[in-house]
């Protein structure tokens, strides 16, 4: 099935129809999520208004982890099956995921200061999220560190796969060690333990951010396809100076 999607022209045709739809739907989710989280959701029993930070902190955290998983899977496709679009997808995911991981740490700090009295604590979840950021950073730097792009792609893909070990640590760290960070409330075996009125804005924000990330990834892949075509044209026309 993925070979079918590998043809760049087919990819372009499908995504051209998908793009505006994705942008509109994701913006709708984000805007309504923002409305619900800022205005229409209840204050927390213990935390008051500050719980609203959860509606940006948790989506950022989930997306940072999920995008890393997608990154690693895409790299496996690239290394093993040599899927032509896989490398473009990986390098498009990386900046988005990196930004979300920093955002998770910053919004977490802003939430932690009023609630738990500290900007930072070196527990397993915060530290592994910081390490995730460094894996993203390492991927981006390694990708651009080689003379030929293909060398950078292969090396960075191996790095991304090595970093997969970090993801289970992030997910289960709050259950294995009881530290300052709150334990899991949503992805548990017996269903979410969070109130429905809070679950709705949270879901909207997660879906909205997720679809928007997908939209950004599609735009970036198409840009990279165009850049590839430009490079080929430059070589063909033997232009020594562009513009």
């Amino acid at each position: 099935m993925f070979d079918w999607l590998a043809n760049p022209n087919r990819f372009k045709k499908i995504t051209n129809k998908l793009e505006p739809l994705l942008m509109v739907i994701s913006l709708l989710f984000i805007i309504s999520g923002l409305y619900f989280s800022l205005f229409d959701s209840p204050k927390d029993y213990q935390q008051g208004d500050a719980v609203r930070i959860m509606y940006v902190h948790v989506p950022s955290a989930w997306l940072a982890s999920f995008l890393y998983l997608s990154l690693a899977v895409s790299c496996i496709f690239y290394l093993v099956w040599k899927h032509p679009l896989a490398d473009l997808i990986s390098s498009s995911i990386a900046p988005i995921g990196a930004l979300f991981s920093i955002l998770t740490l910053i919004t977490g700090s802003l939430w932690g200061k009023p609630m738990w009295g500290t900007w930072w604590v070196w527990d397993a979840r915060l530290t592994s999220m910081l390490i995730l950021f460094f894996f993203y950073l390492g991927f981006i730097l390694l990708h651009n560190a080689f003379e030929r792009k293909i060398d950078g792609s292969k090396s960075a893909s191996v790095l991304a796969i090595i970093g997969l070990i970090n993801l289970p640590i992030i997910k289960f760290s709050v259950d294995w060690w009881h530290t300052l960070h709150q334990p899991s409330s949503i992805l548990k075996f017996d269903g979410p333990s969070i109130d429905n009125q809070m679950l709705i804005p949270l879901s909207f924000m997660i879906i909205g951010f997720g679809l928007f990330s997908l939209y950004l990834i599609i735009i970036n892949v198409k840009t990279k396809l165009i850049e590839k075509k430009c490079e080929a044209l430059i070589l063909k026309l033997n232009l020594k100076e562009i513009l």
């Binding site: 390492g138 390694l142 560190a145």
Partner: protein
């Protein structure tokens, strides 16, 4: 008639011997890595002030952090020289699998660079005002962790093989990979300091070493094949 396995082990040992011979030509290299480690450690009393209690608290962490930082310069050169003069291309045609040869590289690196540091580690402990009774456990924990450091360092240097700006990149890649070793290694020493059992952390350290022993040769061999194929 030699079986395949005996010829593998012969090749393995031959590679270790060759690496040791080529890399320990100069006593200067040996001295410089220990010297670098001592310099890193000197920075801490200079920065903290020579107050015995302060140094005692941080001594375990400083030695481990210094260990990780001190090997970074030499890690860059681990595979690079052999890559540039074509030796890695030759190795790839050897009858023994590339994974075994990568394992031999990690072990020879451990023998050349890390054994001196293990042997001189009591000196570092004394410089940092560590309790003398904790020093044997320090040596044990560093011995247990240093092989893991060498293995994951090999993977790291294979990642940047042939990169333009590899030297700036290597610390950023290596240090996140080394954090579990650091955490468990210091955990052993801290447990000994407060008279608790260090065996939990020690076994985790050994488990990490075993895991890296298996995956690191495969990852490095894959990366070397990619690098040679350019």
């Amino acid at each position: 008639m030699n079986s395949i396995h005996s010829s593998w082990s012969n090749i393995f040992i031959a590679h270790i011997k060759r690496d040791i011979l080529t890399n320990s030509r100069s006593l200067l290299d040996l001295i410089s890595i220990v010297g670098f480690m001592i310099l890193i450690i000197i920075l801490f009393p200079l920065g903290l002030g020579p107050i015995k209690e302060k140094l005692n608290i941080v001594s375990n962490a400083v030695i481990w952090v210094g260990l990780i930082l001190a090997i970074i310069p030499s890690l860059e050169k681990l595979l690079q020289k052999d890559f540039e003069n074509g030796w890695l291309d030759q190795i790839a045609t050897s009858p023994a699998p590339l994974e075994i040869i990568m394992l031999s590289k990690a072990i020879s690196y451990w023998l050349i660079m890390l054994i001196p540091l293990i042997i001189t580690s009591p000196i570092f402990a004394i410089l940092l005002d560590m309790d003398l009774k904790n020093i044997p456990w320090l040596v044990i924990s560093i011995s247990a962790g240093s092989l893991a450091i060498s293995l994951i360092g090999l993977s790291g240097s294979a990642l940047i093989l042939g990169a333009r700006k590899g030297n700036i990149l290597l610390p950023i890649l290596i240090i996140p990979l080394m954090t579990p070793i650091l955490i468990f290694g210091v955990g052993v020493n801290e447990a000994v300091k407060i008279n608790e059992s260090p065996f939990g952390n020690l076994f985790l350290l050994l488990a990490l070493t075993l895991i890296y022993l298996v995956i690191s040769p495969f990852i490095s061999a894959l990366l070397v094949r990619i690098a040679i194929g350019r």
